[in-house]
Structures are given as C-alpha cells and as structure tokens.
Amino acid sequence: MTSSTQTRPSARPATSAAAEPTPPRVRLNRRNKRATRARRAVLPTLALWIPVLLFLFPLLWFLLSSFKPGGELFRYPLTFWPETFTLDGFAKAWERVDFARYFGNTLFVSTITTVLTVFFSASTGYALAKYKARWLNVLFICILATTMLPTEVILTPTFAVIRDLGLYNTLAGIIVPSVITATGIFMFRQFFITVPDELIEAARIDGVSELGIFFRIMLPLAKPIILTLAIFSFQWRWNDYIWPLIVLNDPKQYTIQVALRGLVGAENIDWTVLLPASVISIIPLAVIFVIFQKYVMSADLNSGLKD
C-alpha cells in the first residue's frame, strides 16, 4: 500500500526540477509549481510519518514511564505524561544494580572484541580479495556458511569447546568465539576488490613487503569500512545475551544484558527498578550512535552482504 506512492529514488543528488532543462512551454509559474510540489509531498510524507510515530510510541511510553514515581506507574487512569517527574527510580536502580561493574565488563568485552573483529576481518577480507588460491575459495565458502549456520544452533557443543579450552566463566570466553563475523569479512572483501591491483603492483615494485602493503596502504584506505564495522560490532557485543548467559557463572563477571535479565526474570518484576535500569543500559550505545550516526546510516551495507 505504502509503496504505491513511490516515484523515483533519489539516487542522484536532490537536484529536482531546478537543474533539469525544462522546455519553455512546459514551464509553470513559480507559485503553481510550489503548489504541485506540496501536493505531491502530502501522501508519501503522511505514509512515512504514521509508521514513524508507531515506531516511536513504544519507546516514548517506556521512557516516560521510567520517570514516573512508583505510585503513579500503575494508577488508573494511566496518563501518558507523568504527573510528577522523578529520578527516584533511577537512583534506586543505580543502587540495586551494580552498573559501574556491569558497564565496565560490557565495555571491556565489546571494545576488545571489536578491535579484534575489525583487524582480523580486514586481514582476511584482504586475503580473500587480493590473493588467488583454491584454499581461499574454500575459506570463503566456509565463512559464508557461518551466516547460514549460526553457533546459537549448536549451543551445547560450543559450550563444551569453550569449557575444554578453559574459557568457562572468563570474559575471554565471550570474546574469543565472537571474533569471526561473516558480515565483517564480506564488507572488507568487497571493499578491497574495488581497490585497483595496480596499487599493490606499484608497492611491490617499490619493495614493500606483502604484509607491509596491507598495514601501510590497505588498512589506511579502508578507514570508512573500519569505522562502520567497528560501530556495528560494538553494538552486537554490547547487546549480546546468549553467550554471556551461558559462559559466565560468577555475577561479578556479568555483562549488562545478563544483569538486566536478573531483574526481568524475577518472580515478581519490580517495574519501578526495571524500567529505569533498562533506560540506563541503553545510554552508552545511544551516545556512541549520536557521535557516529553518519557512519551507521550511510553504511553501504549492501556491498558487504550481497555477495
């Protein structure tokens, strides 16, 4: 339904009518033109903004509720806007949940994993893009297979492997298995394919070693991909739940998601704590998103996943 309003994708810069040569006899006067443009905007704009509001609403309700005092949270009639704004819930949540520790753990895990993921995805993606060997084709298919067969499916044997490697109940146990991501490797492979071979040939003639080419020329070139994958990887790891749940046993090691699960999994959920605690848990990612928004939104994900 909504798609019927589609006209033309704005692949080209929004030049609109101004840049197009209009034959004089078709040219309308300016006011008329603005009116038609406004009329054409009504339908798609409405079609876009109704879902926008629907998407925003659950989040708003959740955010506003976290500022309500305990008594108001369940008092009928419910009001959208809190009658009294209070930070009591946040103070209580901060006291009940050891955020400093959980944020610390999660930050540690997410950062280390992200650095490793980006680096090894880049090196493997480069090897897959710029070297020819039969085993590399096999490796590529194997990596492709990891998207089709996620490890969540083989939960118990993977846990046994982590245990046998002595990684049970350590943060390394959630870092090491999550380093490989097919998406990351594809993104880099796709990017390095577009880098002309002449660049490598020239460097070789200049006597730069193979690894030198990767470190000194290719890695700096791939900066946009590095940033995009870094943000994605950080988000994946920050929000990871199932591996930390299985691998970590000691509450001191918990990541924020597992800690939150302790609140939501309780017999009687204490919403006055759960809501503010959940809000707090989102803040770090929200800050990162605000800073790097550009890199996420303009990410040419297609190139990474299509092939």
């Binding site: 704009t45 590399l136 067969l149 200049d206 939501v264 190139s303």
Partner: protein, 319 residues
Amino acid sequence: MTIQKTASPGTSRPVISRPATSRPAKSRRRGARYVTAPIVLSAVVVVLFALFFVWPGLLGLIYSFTDYRGVGKLDFIGLDNYAELLGDEDFYQALTRTVLYVVLYVPLCYAISLGIAVLLVNLHTKGKTLAKIIFFIPWLVSPIVTGVIWRWLFGESFGLVNFVIASVGGTAVPWSSNADLAMVVVIVASAWANTAFSMLLFIAAIKNVPTSYYEAASLDGANAWQRFRAITLPGIAPTSVMVVLLTTIGSMKEFSMVQALNGGGPGTENRLIVQYIYETGFQRAEVGYASAVSMVLMVVLLAIALIQLQFDKKAKSDF
C-alpha cells in the same frame, strides 16, 4: 615509506615487464611468491573457524549419538536420541511454534522495511533524515530491553494497550495468557526491533537501481505502482533474497528477546527451538539429546539456505 632500498632487480623486473595475462609457467612461479602472505593474513580466522564452528559441529554430531550429560565418559547409544526425538511432543511444539513465528514474522518485517525504504528514497517525502533516525533507534535497543518495552506496553493488567482498549469500552485482551496472542506480541516486537537493518539494506539497493529506467517508464506512462512492480522489485531482487535469508535465519535463532518478553510463555507454549535446546542442554543437562535437536535444526537451516540461494541465482540472472 614507499622509497625502497633493498628490492632486488632480479625479482621485481619480470613483474613489471610482463603483461597481466602470461604463460602459465610464469604465473605459477609468481603465485608461489604470494603463498605465505594470505596464510599469515587469514590464519587467525581459519583457526577460530576450526575451533568454534568445525569442532563444535563435529562434537555435536558425536554427542547426538550418546547420552552425554556434560560430565564423564561418552556412552554411545546409537540413534536412540533421534528415535526419541521423533516422538517428543515438546520438540514438535517448539519446532512448529518456531516455524509459525518465522512464517509470520519474515513477511511482515520484509514488507515494513521495504515500504519504509521506498518512502525514505522518495523524492517528495519530507523529513526523511529525522524519520530515518527514528526508525533506527530500535536497532540500538538490546533484545532484552526490547522485551521489557513490549512487556510493559502489553501487560495484561497494567499495560497501556489494555488500558486504551478498556477505556474505549472493550474488555482486557489476554496478551500474555493466550498463547496465540502472546505470539502476536512477539512478532510485532521483533518487527519493531529488526526493521532498521533490513531497511538500510533496501535503501542501498533501491539507490542502486538506475534512474534512467524510471524515467523511461514514466515516459511510457507507467504509474508509481507499475514502476515499483516492474523496476524496483526486480532491481532489488538479490537484496530481497538476502534480506529474507538473513531475517529467516535470525528468527530461527530467536531467543533473548522472547526471554525478556514472556519467557516462551504462557507456560511453555511459545517456547522456540533455541530456547528448547538451551533448556534441555543446560537446565536439564541432557547434552546428548540437545545435540540431536541441534543437528536436526542444522539440517533445516541448511535446507532453507540452499533453497533461498537457488532463488538468489534466479534473481541475479533475471534482471
């Protein structure tokens, strides 16, 4: 940095003087020079792949023929686990619930993300940047918090949705005590959470469709819907296949969000397959049996992937 000092002319000479397509003997020698570099570059990934994909896969296959309970020796019991699985109603329930979830959720997510992507590249839509950011916010929210948000919204006795229904004269809807309604909430919440990613894929794909096609179609008098059907849809077909594949696999392994939303409830009626594996493998410590379930699920996923890749081939050759 590129100013070199030690490059021996003997090795670099033939490289420059020779055109790219040369005799096989020479190119083999040249290839041999670059054997170690790719090995070094991808060694860690190869090792990690072997450790965390191949090894667990084989281990799971072995476990599935044993009654291993996490400790002690492996005790082979042949195909007993698989035989038991055939008659296990809990397994069938988890599997059918998962299939139902996938079948309803994937098309919904596809339609919403494609629809939004189309509107976001539409020339006439206003406020696109802000809208895009808002659609993207759920991506930041973790599955656990997504579960919390929707649980709060659809609480039977305290949720806003039931309050609104009651205030317009309806009766409270059993969002969490009716299995089918609880599934509806799970599906809606998943769609809310996962639209952003597919939307980004679609936006990139739609922008890659050549504008000239649309212009030609407009000249021929095709309306917006016809242009969408005849140009956009075939133009983004490979991405469509990819999105369907990724959302299907993503939803087959759904676990965390449901944990926070209703824990697979009411009771165990909406228990999805990964949760079933988790509960048998970890809470009941029936590692052998859980591994058998994993193997069955792997075959299912492999079949799905192969079928969809066939569509992908077709999609790429059609346009």
